[in-house]
């Protein structure tokens, strides 16, 4: 079955579920995706009226992690009396993971949320497609069979779907929102029970084979065009701090310039803060206006957390993440001297 037919089916089911949730007053608002006004984009949308349900779409350009709209932010999603709105949220696998992890971190209450689960088969790597098209204007992007079809004024080009999706999507094993007994109440639509998540992280082999200097050069080259607009941070469902470390100004904690050392410090410390928390949605890379792909950094962190703590974020709502727990007999190999 072609991608476009699968997407159409998913879209129909999603609209039906959303319509029912609104009709039956199980939710006050639906958060989903709408068609973008420029090719290679999509726009998040908040729907409260049933007549707007048909604005909901699903395709391989729905790159924003909608869980971002549920973390504590101002203005909050509340009714005039100040009560939390009940939210139905269109969830591909990584949105589901983000919701579960946010619940574990006690940032959201899944009782107020209905997860409209949909199976995602990958998000188009916008920057990679744009790079191939170069200085021509893309006017239309669609999926056909197993291809991404890109059209412009005088050209039409096809790209194999499997090759031109985000690197993280290529290795993704959680296509639909994970569910377990404790949160099954929240799930409508397609959610999957996940047991024994095996991952060989083979995609990292090439990077890991590099020497330290090569790795460092790679990171420097990767980040040098950063403008520090913080789109990566603002799109990240796990970046919900009231005041980010890099915004601390009484006193200033970190350099705020676009000198490479300051840029690197921001990105690497932000990555550290996402260890065992990143849900591999790739939104940070999708939104970067300069086309910086941060996926490799977060993927490497995911591997380290998996190896050391046998933990994958956002899979079950019971296990405490490694950065939230400790044991008295934890190894302390990072200590330089013992008493």
């Amino acid at each position: 079955m072609g991608i476009e037919i699968k997407n159409q089916e998913i879209e129909n089911q999603m609209r039906e579920l959303a319509r029912n949730l609104l009709n039956e007053k199980k939710v006050d608002v639906i958060i989903g995706y709408a068609k973008g006004t420029v090719p290679l984009s999509s726009a998040p949308i908040m729907i409260t009226n049933e007549e707007d349900i048909d604005k909901l779409i699903w395709n391989n350009l729905c790159y924003i992690n909608l869980a971002k709209y549920l973390v504590p932010r101002i203005p909050q999603l509340i009714d005039p009396e100040g009560n939390n709105l009940k939210v139905g949220i269109v969830s591909k696998g990584c949105v589901g993971r983000a919701l579960i992890h946010l619940a574990v971190e006690k940032q959201i209450n899944l009782d107020d949320i209905k997860i409209i689960g949909i199976p995602c088969n990958g998000i188009i790597n916008r920057k990679k497609v744009e790079k191939e098209i170069d200085e021509k204007e893309i006017l239309e992007v669609s999926a056909s069979g197993n291809d991404i079809v890109v059209k412009g004024k005088d050209f039409e080009q096809k790209f194999p779907f499997d090759e031109y999706i985000n690197e993280l999507c290529k290795v993704c094993k959680v296509k639909s929102p994970p569910t377990d007994a404790s949160i099954s109440e929240a799930c409508v639509g397609e959610c999957q029970e996940i047991s024994n998540l095996e991952d060989d992280f083979a995609d990292l082999a090439e990077f890991e084979a590099k020497s330290s200097k090569e790795k460092w050069d790679y990171i420097k080259d990767l980040l040098k065009t950063c403008t520090r607009c913080y789109a990566c941070r603002e799109a990240c469902p796990m970046c919900y701090c009231n005041l980010c470390f890099v915004d601390q100004n009484k006193p200033i904690w970190f350099g705020k310039t676009t000198e490479l050392s300051d840029i690197i410090v921001f990105h690497l410390i932000r990555a550290m803060h996402l260890a065992g928390r990143c849900v591999a949605c790739g939104a940070c890379s999708s939104v970067c206006p300069m086309g910086i792909d941060l996926n490799l950094i977060t993927r490497k962190l995911e591997k380290m957390v998996k190896e050391r703590f046998d933990f994958t974020s956002g899979i079950d709502s019971e296990t405490l993440p490694p950065m939230m727990s400790f044991n008295m007999d934890d190894e302390q190999e990072f200590m330089l001297e013992e008493d």
Partner: protein, 351 residues
């Protein structure tokens, strides 16, 4: 107005002749993005492009700029001022919309009495804008809705029109005229070149897809400061700085002092800032008058489409479409402006 011809294969020659006296900036491709950079090798210059991803404002108003450096010796302080402000620059290939952006920035940077931004204005005065008209505007371009034009000449010193193998070179300002007269090897343009350029200009104007009616938009904005539409507009905004950092008219910056105590020295720098950041308006007391996306999104629109007309009698947007293309959540300014225009219509209907 002088009209000359510059062959595309003479760009290298142009560069070599100018690079001695000027810092020569032109579009190059860096990591997949078109950006304006100081050229060291003329082969790097890219001539086939829509527009740069980062506006050429970064040449005169960089993301980060050292204002001065100082060093301490006991009780003596020595301040090292900028030495590079008298250097001459050429920005080759700037688009008319971005050139208009410089005009708006200059208006802003000189509009506050004695507080003229000396650094920007000095650099601006030492810069020649050698623009190229847009034969093929993008579907997201809307300069014509703002009184601009893909071949607008007013803000340029020299205007180039891409005629295929060659450029028609027209001198616009006095500065531009003197500048071009020094390039004695440029051939004179023929009548048919000028004619071709006029046709291209017309064709380009006709090809615009986005047409917005922005008449009196400031008069609609002012009484609707508290309109519920602002919540609707800001619902999906994630408060990043993409729209303002990549805007050719945004001028906000933050000033930071960095000290190197161990070496008795320091520097004062300025970096781009954005009204979309929560920190931008945070008071020392902890109070924040623009605490949510609603106020921040509103400020962006009000500043460009109400405060600018009010203070400087012109709109503070040039219609380059960068924010349209690059907003992470596709919060399209064209759609926002259309919604605002519709407030008026709805009111008329209900009246």
């Amino acid at each position: 107005m002088d009209q000359k011809i510059l062959m595309k294969n003479e760009i290298g020659k142009l560069y070599i002749e100018l690079a001695e006296e000027y810092n020569f900036y032109a579009p190059v491709k860096e990591k997949g993005n078109i950006v304006f950079k100081k050229i060291l090798n003329p082969d790097d210059i890219v001539l086939e492009y829509f527009n740069s991803k980062v506006p050429p404002k970064e040449v005169l108003f960089p993301e980060m700029e050292v204002l001065f450096e100082y060093s301490l010796d006991g009780k003596d302080v020595e301040i090292q001022d900028r030495q590079d402000l008298d250097e001459k620059n050429v920005i080759f290939g700037i688009r008319p919309c971005d050139a208009h952006g410089f005009a708006l920035m200059a208006t802003f940077f000189t509009a506050h009495g004695d507080c003229e931004d000396e650094i920007f204005m000095k650099k601006r005065a030492n810069t020649i804008l050698m623009g190229i008209g847009c034969n093929e505007p993008k579907s997201t371009c809307f300069c014509t809705s703002l009184g601009g034009h893909p071949f607008q000449k007013d803000d340029l010193d020299v205007m180039l029109t891409d005629l295929g193998e060659k450029y028609l070179v027209e001198t616009i300002s006095e500065k531009g005229k003197t500048f071009i007269q020094k390039l004695k090897w440029l051939a004179d343009a023929k009548k048919k070149d000028v004619q071709q350029a006029q046709e291209l200009s017309k064709k380009s104007e006709e090809s615009f897809v986005t047409k917005l009616d922005l008449t009196d938009i400031d008069k609609i904005l002012d009484p609707n400061f508290e309109h519920p539409i602002w919540k609707e507009i800001s619902d999906i905004c994630i408060s990043c700085g993409t729209c303002s950092y990549l805007c050719p008219t945004c001028t906000c910056f933050d000033v930071i002092d960095e000290t190197d105590e161990y070496n008795n020295r320091g520097r004062r720098i300025r970096i781009w800032d954005t009204c979309q950041s929560c920190l931008y308006t945070l008071h020392t007391s902890g109070h924040n008058p623009r605490n949510s996306c609603i106020e921040r999104c509103r400020n962006r629109i009000m500043h460009k489409f109400s405060y600018y007309p009010k203070n400087y009698d012109q709109i503070g947007c040039v219609g380059c479409g960068r924010c349209v293309q690059l907003c992470p959540v596709n919060n399209d300014i064209r759609a926002i402006l259309t919604k605002i225009k519709n407030i008026e219509k709805e009111e008329e209907i209900s009246a």
